[in-house]
Symmetry: C3
């Protein structure tokens, strides 16, 4: 890993970027949004092998290899029904999976997956060679060897990574037992949960009515009345706060919001709770629930995150045969100006609310999101998300958002990852790109270097802590 | 202010940019579109104080501070109903308003507001320190002191700024008395008006029918007949031309145009003039009127500007409590290909018509606007507008438009400002960014430096004069 | 032509770009998609004169000059009805047409047309002066002189350009006689056809029913039955393969696809074949036919190209008076995520199918196309198309696509041109810009230089050959 990676080539800009980065490179990691598994930290068991750690759960890696003609079975992904297929059974040898990745490693050139892998291999496992079919076995052996040692267990890595706080994400019906186990273990690492109620607020969720029933069972509320349902959600929010949560997260197909009169909301709820939604009811109910969640956030102080605008499971065959999160979620066009208006009409002027917006439609950066966040006190902009969590994606984000919304209506970086060893890599990429962006502003005399240094620190550390109330 | 600000960091590019800029920095300012107050030039009274000059009327500044949790009352903006609110009354001390800005000055880092302020403070008022809570009082005093001197009155500044021509914008019902006063004063500064008929062509305007009545009163036409209404508009255009106007300006929600048969247009007019528009009538009538205005432009020679694609007054509470133009106008997705077709079918092939298009939806630059302007003789593209009137915004504009439309289907720069002291700053930013863009083309051997110099001059001066017939 | 044109200004990046370019500059040209005339290569007759070679057929040049107020008649473009017009008859003197271009040459500054012309003038005809009104006659004479020599005939130029394979595009009803003549001539140049069935699959085509009749006549099938129609298309595909075709090409208004049950498809076909399509039938039928074509491609191995998202003939007057392809085709907003789903549900997981997507809506690069191509094995992304086949357009394409789809889900370069002398210029621009893009990645330590060199070669040569099975 070159020490100047991701810095501008111009020597003047590069030297400024180096100076800025030197000040932020070692700051603690605040990871306020992500999808790591709390069980890792609760029980601190060793990770099984390189393929199961780095390949099988990483949908970025799966999708790229699949697009190049590699079958998921060759990558160790089993079919839901357990059958094998023409071409052989599911690959069970992690070393062979690893070799398949190495054979197609060129496909990842200039992708963030490559940056994250190389950082993890070099910084976490001390691998300095490039991954090739020739080097694959030796690298596999080295990582496998590391994984057998105590200093590569989850808690040791957490501490070595310098993580000050890490948020996982759990559904509204989650028993939060791993978080309980973490707290009871006496380990000092700060791992908190995040309240993600999608499966009990989205009537399109398979099993939605059963989910309501389960929500009632957990909370002791009558979740088939509007009042009881809202009380149950408020109760679960309290449970999550007891497990450290400072935020909620909402994954919706669109940013549509609604603010119905209470009686209409109740009638709508009664239709969806009875499993008899009308054609527009699911979207309307999701929209209404975002506004209800904003109301509850004003009451209990949880920060609200909205991740919208993705067509989940675009590949029907893959969904059927392999299930969700295999790399076939595709972004869609998004709209915030009309969609958020009902919620903003109700709560947009409240400085006590923080609603953090994420998008996969970069056209909304300069047209909608920056103007909205540059006006409403309740709005903040999350970092570039998913496909755009990459050097070019980060540049586009800063270039299109900063002039209208400034730096201080954004909230620093979220790694949003399921891949634990990639956390330091992802934060490092963000810190480097922000320093590179700021270096250009300094070199072009658009801000002074002392100001850039303050901004770099805020983007790397302080803004995330502050926005997420961590 | 660093003399190389906004120039590329690469030394080779920078030296080309410097050479180009040296030739255009001192050219006169042609300001063919903006929102300064003609009364300033008519009566030449001193500006009251730094806050009322630079803060209270600047919706860019208001919105950023509001987004960061500052109440508008703290910035001296009164509620429409005169009430005070929790947290105290409206701030009446301009010095305290100034201090509030200074306390939040970091929020403006890397925004164009910051560039404009610093330019105005340095070049107009000789302030060389950075604005901070510590320096706020001294800077306030210096500006206040300047404002008391004759050389800081509007006409003196107009001359010092090197303004060759300045267009203000007045509504169709404006008596144009300030423009009359300017002409009668014997002062030689060229300040002209622009005909903006929105309130008499947009049936969604509150008081639309009363406006038609007033239009009839002013012109002596029967504005409740289609023929009389059109005659009244033609008459008002002549009045505006007598006050120096060379252009009209149209602020529409969309770029929709229509070209109805005359009898249908008349029937439509009768519905809207009676205050009984059908559900689609307002949009249809606005669209028809753009085509009627194009027809009149071909007759009387006024250049036509279209500013479309913004949701005015997105924040209902703010509109109700504080009124319009407080920073809550939000851009929307725009469409030009189908929307402009009726007007273009009628007049797009007329080299005698000039229709200048502006957009807040940057996705239309390369997809719609450059291809349209690169074909129709009647179309020209206005400079990056409002949120995009910024260094990055200008780069995006040139990068996405030039390869399809060239430089010569664009019309130079418009400052579009209400903030008089920012005029030189805004033109300076545009000149610097255009020189930086051209320097890159020269450095990459895409055009020669002698050509770049000609283009730089055209963009800074000649194209605006020519396109607006000034 | 400067040897470093289009390379970054930074000396470090530039030296990397030079090294990469040195390795790919001389690679053979693979031109798998374009619109040159096979008759040129069949009969090898001299090109008539500079204006008819470089101006009259080039709609890029026509539209820019027209936008600047030049009438098409002045450029030698006749009216369809043969009439002359106010301002004089159609210009018949190619030298005067040439002079008109020279007088407006400044309008092309920083456009790709200018790059292509200068390359052709310098590299093909040895012209080293800039085109100006003063130099126009001498340059005209030099080119005219060249055109009279045998080494400037089509086949000699083909060989001099280093073209390894060139695909033209012919409609489904084309007799392919020129391709037959090429093969029978014994000349060794590889010129192949491409099957473009738009006029027999798009019910909105004027004369669609007559086209079906003609398709029946050519193939001996009953093209007024669904079964016979499909058999006729399959037969024509075989004919095209016999003339060297390795690909089909589909120009559709949108990327809409459908996958109807066979019985419904047949009923739909019966309505359109009878000339009585319902209001949505044309779009539905086009969409169904894309899926049918994908099915046939899986059978016969032809690669499939989809060019969608353009409003052809936007200028009604120009269409009526001058006809098609005069520079008034305007891109529109495009959508791929929902539109392609029916086809992808059916065939997206087939590694044996290659569907190459092109777009004029750059907002789809990072939002839709890269995520789709980064997942589905059947999808590949074509190079930046038409308005975006330009240095800035190519940068945007690589910057927005690579991080999600990598380089290896793209297919290298297509020149897509009707202007034969511009072929080397266009490939040279693409090679230079790709090397510049790769040089930046190397300079920022995002990939290593040996990898960049491999990618540069793949983008310049290997990927096109492989994707198009040439």
């Amino acid at each position: 890993m070159h020490e100047d990676r991701l810095f501008p080539a111009d020597p003047g800009e590069r030297s400024i970027a180096r100076r800025l980065y030197a000040e932020v490179a070692g700051l603690p990691i605040v990871s306020p949004h992500g999808h790591t598994d709390p069980a890792w930290f609760a029980y601190d068991e060793p990770f099984p092998n390189p393929a199961e750690l780095l390949v099988v759960p990483d949908h970025y890696v799966l999708r790229m290899l699949y697009s190049q003609g590699v079958r998921l079975e060759e990558l160790g992904v089993p079919r839901l029904d357990g059958t094998t297929v023409e071409g052989g059974p599911v690959e069970g040898d992690p070393r062979r999976i690893w070799r398949t990745v190495a054979e197609h490693w060129h496909a990842f050139r200039a992708t963030p997956s490559r940056l994250w892998w190389e950082h993890a291999l070099a910084e976490v496992f001390g691998v300095t060679e490039r991954l090739t079919p020739q080097s694959a076995d030796a690298i596999y052996d080295r990582i496998a060897d590391c994984l057998s040692k105590p200093e590569f267990r989850p808690r040791a890595l957490f501490e070595r990574f310098g993580i000050e706080a890490l948020a996982t994400t759990e559904g509204a019906l989650d028993p939060l037992e791993h978080h309980k186990a973490i707290r009871e273990s006496g380990w000092q690492g700060r791992v908190v949960t995040t309240f993600r109620p999608d499966t009990v607020v989205d009537p399109d969720t398979p099993g939605f009515v059963a989910n309501l029933e389960e929500l009632g069972r957990i909370t002791g509320e009558d979740t088939f009345t509007w009042r009881g349902y809202l009380a149950a959600l408020a109760a679960r929010r309290r449970d999550f706060m007891a497990a450290g949560a400072t935020a909620t997260d909402h994954g919706h197909p669109t940013a549509f919001t609604a603010d119905l009169p209470p009686a209409e909301a109740e009638v709508l709820f009664n239709r969806v709770a009875a499993g008899r939604p009308g054609p527009q009811d699911a979207e309307l109910f999701r929209g209404q629930m975002l506004t209800e969640m904003a109301r509850m956030s004003l009451e209990d102080g949880l920060v609200m995150q909205l991740h919208s605008g993705v067509r989940r499971g675009h590949n029907a065959w893959m969904q059927r045969v392999f299930g969700a999160n295999r790399g076939d979620d595709i972004p869609t066009r998004s709209e915030f100006v009309d969609n958020l208006r009902p919620l903003l009409d109700r709560f947009g002027n409240e400085p006590g609310l923080t609603l953090i917006l994420f998008t996969l439609d970069e056209t909304t950066y300069s047209r909608e999101l920056a103007p909205l966040a540059g006006h409403y006190p309740a709005l903040r902009l999350g970092p570039p998300w998913w496909f755009h969590d990459s050097p070019e994606g980060m540049w586009r984000y800063r270039q299109r958002i900063t002039e209208t919304a400034g730096f201080y209506n954004t909230v620093g970086f979220n790694d949003d990852t399921r891949a634990f060893p990639s956390i330091p890599a992802r934060h490092d990429v963000a810190r480097r790109v922000d320093c590179a962006f700021l270096a250009r502003l300094v070199a072009e005399h658009r801000i002074d270097e002392d100001e850039a240094l303050e901004v770099a620190t805020d983007l790397a550390y302080r803004l995330a802590k502050q926005a997420y109330r961590l």
